[in-house]
Amino acid sequence: MALYILKRLLAIVPTLLGVAVLIFLLLRVVPGDVVEARYMGQGGQFQSQELMQIERAKLGLDKPLWQQFTAWMWGIVRLDFGLSMWTGSPITDEIKLRFALSLQLAIMASTIATCLAIPLGILAAIKQDSWVDYAVRVFSISGLAMPSFWLGILMILVMLIFFKWLPPMVFTPLWVNPWDNLAQLIWPALAVGYRYCAVGTRMMRSAMLEVLREDYIRTARAKGLWLKLIVSRHALKNAILPVLTVISLEFAFLLGGLVVTEQVFNLNGLGMLFVESISRRDYTLTQALVLLVATTFLIVNFVVDIAYAWIDPRIRYR
């Protein structure tokens, strides 16, 4: 088991390296760089080439690519992510508060999704092809269909038109004022949570249906056990694994992938930072963000794999 964990953990390293190479090269293929992006805002055409070259040299952009890459990698090994090319302040400072916001939002959204998805999915599976099943399926499939940013706009509209109230537009950390914080974040969490709940519900339903067809469930039924007991004791344990996988992997993506919803609710999270940094050609910040999201995803993936092997003894460690 220990060997298996170590092997899986080591396998993360080459993937992360691949992510780093990919984003490093992708960014350099994007036309323009941070110096041009900055002077563009100040009528860049009139800046002399020499001045721009000096600026580039300051940021190390004049060095060969492999030197830039190794410098970046060497920094990461020492947990030094460098400075943002746009603002000049340390990247850890740039990311800190936004990370807190994104993390809280991701936790809230996945909590909402999990709490709804599991009971709804079970219900739909037990009452398969009844009106309950159809209602749950329509509910979940609409969740997949509605863009969460549109749902967000609708929420704001309803609050504005019917309640003459808007959630606070400036972020207050949970530890400063929990009430303001929740009043702001609950709406995007609901808008996004609905979508992930839909994904989870569908997964729960199909996993449950599959398990309910297994021989041991038939045996349990044949010996006259209650349906409730069969579902909670026998079926749930086996059906819940894929659902947890989906929800936890979505969680990792919620962290960085809420680009659009953040825009609607005017939230200054990681997604917004990503769009900003890529449009400013802020290489160092964009790279750090992508690496952060990818690392989170890979670690969650790893934890899920280990949990799988731990929960389900049928899975062998290789």
Binding site: D129, W150, L154, G256, I278
Partner: protein
């Protein structure tokens, strides 16, 4: 496994000589009512897109500064936007953009993904291992971030958005197709083709690919709705289709949010169109999966 006899029985009844395609449609509607609703929505969308020139009451690009932010009713059924453009007309033309991007992206993504997946399974060994590691790298990116990165390289516009949306779909399709292709590789007819001296390309494209068509079709239809959603998201961010092209995501952008209180129709109707389209494709895709994949079939 218990579903296998049922499959035979059903395909038997479908092959009865007196049944034309009308009967086939009828039985599809009866057996999969949700799928039929989805198909109807898709059909409606296609008809609207094809006959946009006839259906749209106004030119979708024509601005009318005398009729800005008109509420629904009167000459403009669904109102006008901040430039006085007719919302209904823009929605009708927007269905073209959505279909074009959706079909284009999922076709491209599924084609490249399945070829990579089958080739990876066919060659096996080191090639397979390498391809899988590369796919792992792509998997670690959130879909929208990968699409955004591609758009910032290629620039905005319909063609580039199609490429940007297809990119994150390639690895996902490749992974699913690969796992199906792994079992196909062991089939005697692949051995036979190899023994007959056919080249790799011919075996992959002519012998293996047709036999993993079911998962490819399932993936492609599942992508359709997602691609439309992604296009709307990118356009909403201003990084998708360019103004003044009529696109649903674009209609939700900017003024629609600014004037949300005084002109809520601008934000409401395009979003409804997106949801309806994705809803239709998802319903249809689900039924298709149930029909093609007997393992997941409902009893």
């Amino acid at each position: 496994m218990s579903a296998t006899p049922q499959t035979v029985e059903e395909s038997g009844s479908a092959a009865e000589p007196r049944g034309g395609w009308m009967d086939a449609v009828g039985s599809f509607v009866r057996q999969r009512p949700l799928g039929a609703i989805g198909a109807a929505i898709i059909l409606l969308m296609m008809v609207v897109a094809a006959s946009a020139d006839l259906l749209a009451p106004y030119d979708p690009l024509a601005t009318d500064y005398g009729a800005m932010l008109r509420s629904p009713g009167g000459h403009h059924w669904l109102g006008t936007d901040a430039f006085g453009r007719d919302v209904l007309s823009r929605m009708i033309y927007g269905s073209r953009t959505a279909l074009m991007v959706g079909l284009g992206a999922s076709f491209l993504g599924a084609t490249f993904g399945s070829i990579i997946g089958v080739a990876s399974a066919y060659f096996g060994g080191r090639v397979d291992l390498f391809v899988q590691r590369v796919m792992d790298v792509f998997f670690a990116f959130p879909v929208i971030i990968l699409a955004l990165a591609v758009v910032s390289i290629l620039g905005t516009g319909v063609g580039n958005v199609i490429l940007a949306i297809a990119t994150p779909m390639v690895p996902r399709c490749a992974r699913v197709v690969r796992s199906s292709a792994l079992s196909v590789r062991e089939m005697p007819y692949v051995d036979a083709a190899r023994a007959a001296g056919f080249g790799h390309r011919r075996i992959i494209l002519r012998h293996m690919l047709p036999n993993v068509m079911a998962p490819i079709l399932i993936m492609a239809t599942a992508f359709l709705g997602e691609a439309i959603l992604l296009e709307a998201s990118l356009s909403f961010l201003g990084l998708g289709v360019n103004e003044p092209t009529a696109a649903w995501g674009l209609m939700l952008r900017g003024a629609a949010v600014e004037f949300a209180e005084s002109a809520p129709w601008m934000a409401f109707f395009p979003g409804l169109a997106i949801s309806l389209a994705v809803f239709g494709f998802n319903l249809f895709g689900d039924s298709l999966r149930d029909a093609l994949d007997p393992r997941l079939r409902t009893q």
